[in-house]
Amino acid sequence: MNIIQSIESHTCYHCGENCDKDALNTDGKHFCCEGCKTVYSILNDHNLCNYYKLDANPGQTIRTTGVERKRFEYLTDEDVRKKLIDFKHGNTVSVTFFIPGIHCTSCVWLLENLQKIEEGVLRGTVNFLKRTLNIVYDASVTDLRSIVELLTTIGYEPNLKLEQLGEKKISGMQRSLWLKLGVAGFCFGNIMLFSFPEYLRMDQSGSSEMFRYFFSGLNIALSLPVLLYSSVDYLKSAWAALSQKGINLDVPISIGIVALFGRSLYEILSGTGAGYLDSFTGFIFFLLIGKMVQKKTFDRLSFDRDYKSYLPISVIRVSDFGTERSIPVNKLNIGDQIIIRNQELVPSDSVLQSEEAQVDYSFITGESDPVNIIKGDQIFAGAKIIGGHAHMLVARKVEHSYLTQLWENEAFKDTSMENRVTSFADRISPHFTITVLSIALLALIVWWQIEPTRAFTIFTAVLIIACPCALALSTPFTLGATVNILSLNGLYLKSTDVVEELSKANAFVFDKTGTLTESEKNSVHYVGEPLSETELKLVASVSRKSIHPLSKNIFKSLAVSDLLNAEDYYEIPGKGAFAKFENTSICLGSRTFILEQTDIDDKDIPGLRKPGSVVHIAIGGEYRGFFELENKVRDGLTELLNSIDEGHEAYLLSGDNEQDAGKLSKLFPNWKVMLFNQSPLQKLNFIEDLKKEGKHVVMIGDGLNDAGALQASNFGIAISDDMSAFSPACDAIAESNSLNKLNSLVDFSRASFRIIISSFVISLIYNLTGLGFALTGHLSPLVAAILMPLSSVSIMAFTNITTRLKAKNMGLRIWA
C-alpha cells in the first residue's frame, strides 16, 4: 500500500502530470520536467505562488512546448508588430493575444499579475470567455517579443496565426446597442410616469392647463432622444431599403415610428390630445430588447475562419550564409529555404530538401495515416511535419498554394449576409406594409365622406395600431430561444438568421474522417502472444517516448501510469523505435523496421488480413504480436443515421481511401452516394451539383478539406471535439457528441418556424382589436398604452414558453 501511495503522490506540482520515479525535486515539490520546474521558479522568485493555491496543478505541461529563442524573432519586425498591436500612444502600447491555454482561475490571476514578472508591463486584462489577454506595456522598457517569450515560457503561448496580420475586426456594436436600450428604457419609464395624470383625467382641478403643458413638454423632450438616437437604426435601414426600391421589415416599423411620433407631436402642439409618446418609447424599448436577444452570439466561437487561421505567422528561413532567422510567412519568396519542425504546418507549397520526411495530410485530405516523402518531392501547404526537422525550398507563394486556391473559388466570393436569402420576416413585410397602407387609405377615404375633420386622425390611428410590433418581436424572440436551446444541445449557430436554412434541410452530406469516424485511430486491438504486466509497462514506456501518432494511441489504450526509464533509446521517424532496458530490449514499429533491427525471420511476422495501420512488437529479439489500429466510429452514429427520415437523403464524401466503406455501409445501408478519395474542390463541386438539383444541403464536416463544401452548402456544420479549437468557416459548430441528435435538432428548428407563425396569429388578433378601436375612432392614448405593451409582453412570453415546451417534448435539453 505504501508503495502505491508514494507513486500517487508523484504528480507534478505545476501541471499535475504523473512523474517518473526520479522526478525533479525542489522545495519538497515534484516536477515532471525542467519546463514545469522553470515556471515554478520564475513564479516563486516573483512571489506569485498564489497561482498554485487558487487551483490545484493549474499549469500546462511544458514538456511539449519548449521555447527556442529564435522562434519569436519575427516579432521585432516593424510591419508584423504594427499589425498585431491594437494601438500605440507614445510609448504606451496595447496588444491583445488569443491564448487557448486559459482555463481556470489561476490562469486569470497569473496573467493579470504579469507586471510583477516583466518590468514594463503596465496592465493585463483577461477575458475568460473569449480567452484573450489584453496587455498594455511601456515600449521604452520592454517589447512585444519579450512579452510573447515570457508568456510562452510560463505555458501560455499566444496563438499567433497568419490571420492576425490581416485587417482587425471592429467590434463595438454591442456597446452602442446597450446605450440605445438604456436611453429608450429611461425615457419610456419617465414618460409613462408623466402620462399618468392624463390617464387618470386630472383635468378637473384648477391648475390642470399648466400641468398639461408642463408634462407634455417634458414628454416631448424625453421622446426626442429615443427618436433621434435609439430608433435611428430602423429609420436608416428602412431608408436604405426604400432607396433601393425594396421593402424590409424596418419599413413598416419606420412607418409606425413616424406615425406615432408625428401624430403625438401634432396632438400636443395643437392641444387636441396627449399623444402616444408612452406607446412610442415603449415600442422602441421592446424592439431593442428583441434585437439584443437576436444579437446574442457565442463569443468564444469563431465562425469565419479561413486558411489564414491555420497557417503559422512565421517560419524559420535559412539565409544564403546558413544563418537561421524567423520571418513572417507573407514575406516568403519562391526559392527561400525554410525549416519546419515536428508538428508544424508547412505554410506554402514547397519541395523537400531533407533526405526523408513524414507528413500528415489530414488537414487537406482527411487521410489520417502519415505519408512518407523523399528528397525532391513536393509538399503541399497545410501538411503537418511529423518527426524531426525538415528542410525545404519554397515553390509557390503562400497565397498561390494549392490549399489557398480553394478560397479563390466563387463559393467564397459572395459570403456577405446581403446576398443570402432574405429572412422570413423580411419576405412577408411587403405584403404586410401594402395591406396596412391600403386599410389606412380606405379608412381615410371612408371617413372623408362621413366626417372629414376626423379622417386624418383615423388614418394615423390605423398606422399606429398596425405597427408590426409583434411581427418584429416574434421572430427575434423565437429564434433567440431556438438558438439558445440548440446551443444547450451542443449545436452553436452563427446567428439567428441561419435557423431558417437549417429548418429547410432535406439532404445531409457527411465527411468521413473526423465526422463519422474519430480523427485519431482510437480503436486499438492487440493480436498475438499475451503480454505480461511488466512487458506491457515496457511497451507503454517506449510508445510514450515515441513521437509517431500511432504510438501515442497505443500508449493511450494501454493506460499504464508507472513508466520505466530506458537505458538506450532511438527512433527512426516513421519506421519504429528501439529501447534497451536493464534486462531486455524492445522493438516497436513497422515490418521492415523489425526485420532490420532483429534476427526475426520474415515468415514469423504474419501478413495483414485487411488494410489498416499495424504496429509490430518484438521483445528481447522474439516476435510477440502486433497492434491493429482502426478509425473508431463515433458514438451514437447508428442512431443518427437511422433517425434520418425517409424524406431526407444521406451522402458520404470522404477524402480518405475506401478502407472503411464496408463498415459504414453495414452501419447504414441507405447511403444515396458514397464517394472516396475526394479532393476539397471535388467536394465543393458535388455540393454545388446537389444544390442545382434543388436539394437543400446540410454539410457536416470538420477539417480544412471540407472548408469549400461547408461554404457551398446551404448550412455548413463543423464538428469539433474541443470547442475552442479551430474549425473552418461554417454556419454552426457542433459538439461531436451532439451529432446523434442532429435529426431532432433539424425538426426542432422547423417547429420554431411554426411557432413564429402562430405568434403572428396572436399578434393579428391584437392588431384587429386595435384596428376596431382605430377605425371607429376610439383609440385613446390609454387604450394604446395598454394594448401596445400587452401585445409585446405576451408575444415575448408566448414565443419563449412554447419554444421551450416544444424542445422539451422533443427530448432536447432546455436548461443549462
Partner: protein, 57 residues
Amino acid sequence: MGVIFVLIAFSLLVALIFLGAFFWAVKTGQFDDPQTPSIRMLFDDETKSNKTNTNQS
C-alpha cells in the same frame, strides 16, 4: 402645488444621474465581459501578505 415642479425636476435629475452611471458602465466595458469579473473577485490581496511572510522568513 408649485412644489410638484421642483419635485419632478429633482426626480428627473436623480434619474439622469442613474442614466449617466449606466452610460459610464457601458463605456468602461462593464457589459462586454460578463464572465471574468466573477472570477476576478475571488482573488484576495494575498500577494502582499505573502511578501511580508517571505520577508520575515
